[in-house]
Amino acid sequence: MNRLTQSMILVLLGGAVLRITTVSTTYLNYVKPGFRPFLIAAGVVVLALGVIGLVQEWRGASHDHDDHDDHDHPHTPGVAWLLTLPVFAIFLIAPPALGAFSAKSEEPQARPVAAAETYDALAAGQVNEMTIAEFTGRAWGEGAGSLAGQQVRLTGFAVPSAKKKDRWYLARIQIACCAADGVALKVAVLDAEMPPENTWVEVVGTWKRPPSGRLEPGTIAPELTAVSLTPIPQPVEPYE
């Protein structure tokens, strides 16, 4: 692999990273929003390395082997070609945010991060907007009473249950850093027809208290009796 090719791979990779972070919000499908400045910085560095290489090559070529080229460069193995793979994946597959496929494959319910934190009391007489993590945390935690009789609005996508036919979940993936550590959080929705799989919806409803003493909290998904259900476009930030 010669220097020209190396430089072009760097330009391509740096360009792809800058493309998904600056002109679009695609990067939110892969990492937390906080990564943006670091990704832009890394993209600029990689692009700059490539451009410097191209300029050196161009000047070296026009001077034809004079001593501008007297720096030694160890051979770069062909493995560097693999750096084009993520670029291909970004442009060809355009990977979407993790959705129903990933939420289905993890049937045992995961505990949301920070479920043990204490929550404030909900405002009475209005619809409380909250994340699925907060809803699950309240339902499973000490303060389950805080949900009783309160209307909440949750946002997520629809996933059918793998075990029961007439049951479906409102799900959302929670990530800590990048999509590889995603954990699916699910709330079972009662009294509502399931929208097509993977459709994003807003559900307004009330928490249904589980029959007491049967199961330890945290083993099955909390349940929500739906009042209304509105299909929405996918949020810009698909993860919680």
Binding site: N29, V79, E106, C177, D181
Partner: protein
């Protein structure tokens, strides 16, 4: 490329390829044009068909691992190149104790100051070695820094509310594994197992050798990172997490299973505490093993270490680290948790 070429390059100055460099317009730029052409064509022709959910989930996780690791890799490469180009070799002989036996724990503890994840530590360790730091000390730094730096410890405290001993146990166990692994390498390691990447310092201005070192390391380590990312993404999609729950209650097996899961998932060390916390069915000791093994041995690290230090090194050092990490986690879990 091969070890032969690198040692040659280190011995012969100027290296033989100066005289007959490939002229412009040789084969590989054309391959490159084909690649770009495929990208443009593929976007129009193939993209509508590449929609199988499993493929998309795989691609999302693969791109996520690569994208997420990129800033850390760039930072590590930058730091490593700066070490090579701007820090004189004499600095390290003054900063670290002369006796390698003492240099190992000092280097391991120094890992606490580099805020990064495991992708950054491999190029930095190789930069340290090429500047004359004892390999055992550099390896101890390599193992310790992604596990015990402040960001990771704070993340662990946040992920385990009400269980501060988890962060303490993680810090102690990781540092212990790093130091013991360094000592074992010092005592039993053979120099011909380890390939120290040659870093010829150019005759030109310093910034030029800086840019050269950065570019070389980035292309090299980046390629191997992609190998690791693709493997981890495959495992992530293929291995169902459901079967994990079935072994959660078994004492030693559950520890081994979570240690293996840490290897397979290859989660960034700054995020793994949150994943460990979500594995509620497992004992604290098993979660500790997940947190200690993850930053030291995982698929993308295996690929990076193999690429940087050679296959013979990786085949010995990685099993050593894994066994030590599991054993120390079991012991630390008994004592501290």
């Amino acid at each position: 490329m091969s070890e032969r070429v690198e040692t040659q390059a280190a011995e012969e100055v100027p290296p033989p390829e100066w005289g007959r460099r490939q002229p412009l317009g040789a084969v590989s730029p054309w391959i490159f044009v084909v690649v770009v052409g495929l990208l443009l064509l593929g976007r129009l022709v193939f993209a509508p068909y590449l929609t199988a959910p499993a493929l998309q989930a795989w691609a999302t996780i693969f791109v996520a691992i690569c994208v997420q690791a990129l800033p850390f890799l760039a930072f590590g490469v930058l730091l490593s190149a700066a070490i090579t180009a701007f820090v004189p070799a004499s600095f390290w002989t003054r900063a670290l104790p002369k006796r390698p036996f003492l240099a190992v724990p000092v280097a391991g503890a120094a890992g606490a100051v580099l805020p990064g994840c495991e992708c950054a530590s491999v190029p930095v360790a190789s930069g340290l070695m090429s500047r004359g730091v004892t390999p055992a000390a550099a390896l101890s730094f390599l193992l310790a820094s992604p596990a015990i730096n402040p960001i990771v410890i704070v993340a662990t405290v946040v992920a385990f509310p009400g269980e501060p001993m988890m962060a303490v146990a993680r810090f102690a166990a990781s540092l212990l594994v790093a130091v013991v692994a360094g000592w074992v390498w010092l005592r039993f390691g053979r120099s011909d197992w380890l390939r120290i990447p040659s870093r010829p310092v150019g005759h030109g201005p310093k910034w030029r050798s800086f840019v050269e070192a950065m570019r070389h390391d980035f292309l090299h380590a980046g390629g191997f990172l992609v190998v690791g990312g693709a493997t981890a993404a495959t495992m992530n999609v293929v291995v169902p997490r459901a079967w994990l729950e079935s072994v959660a209650g078994v004492p030693v097996v559950s520890v081994l299973v979570l240690a293996l899961l840490a290897v397979i998932l290859s989660i960034c060390s700054e995020a793994d505490a949150f994943v460990a916390a979500s594995l509620t069915a497992f004992s604290p000791t098993a979660k500790l093993a997940f947190l200690v093994v993850g930053p030291m041995v995982d698929l993308k690290l295996i690929a990076l270490q193999t690429g940087t230090f050679g296959r013979r090194f990786a085949a010995r050092f990685i099993p050593l680290t894994f066994v030590l990490a599991v054993a120390v986690s079991l012991a630390a879990g008994e004592v501290l948790l």
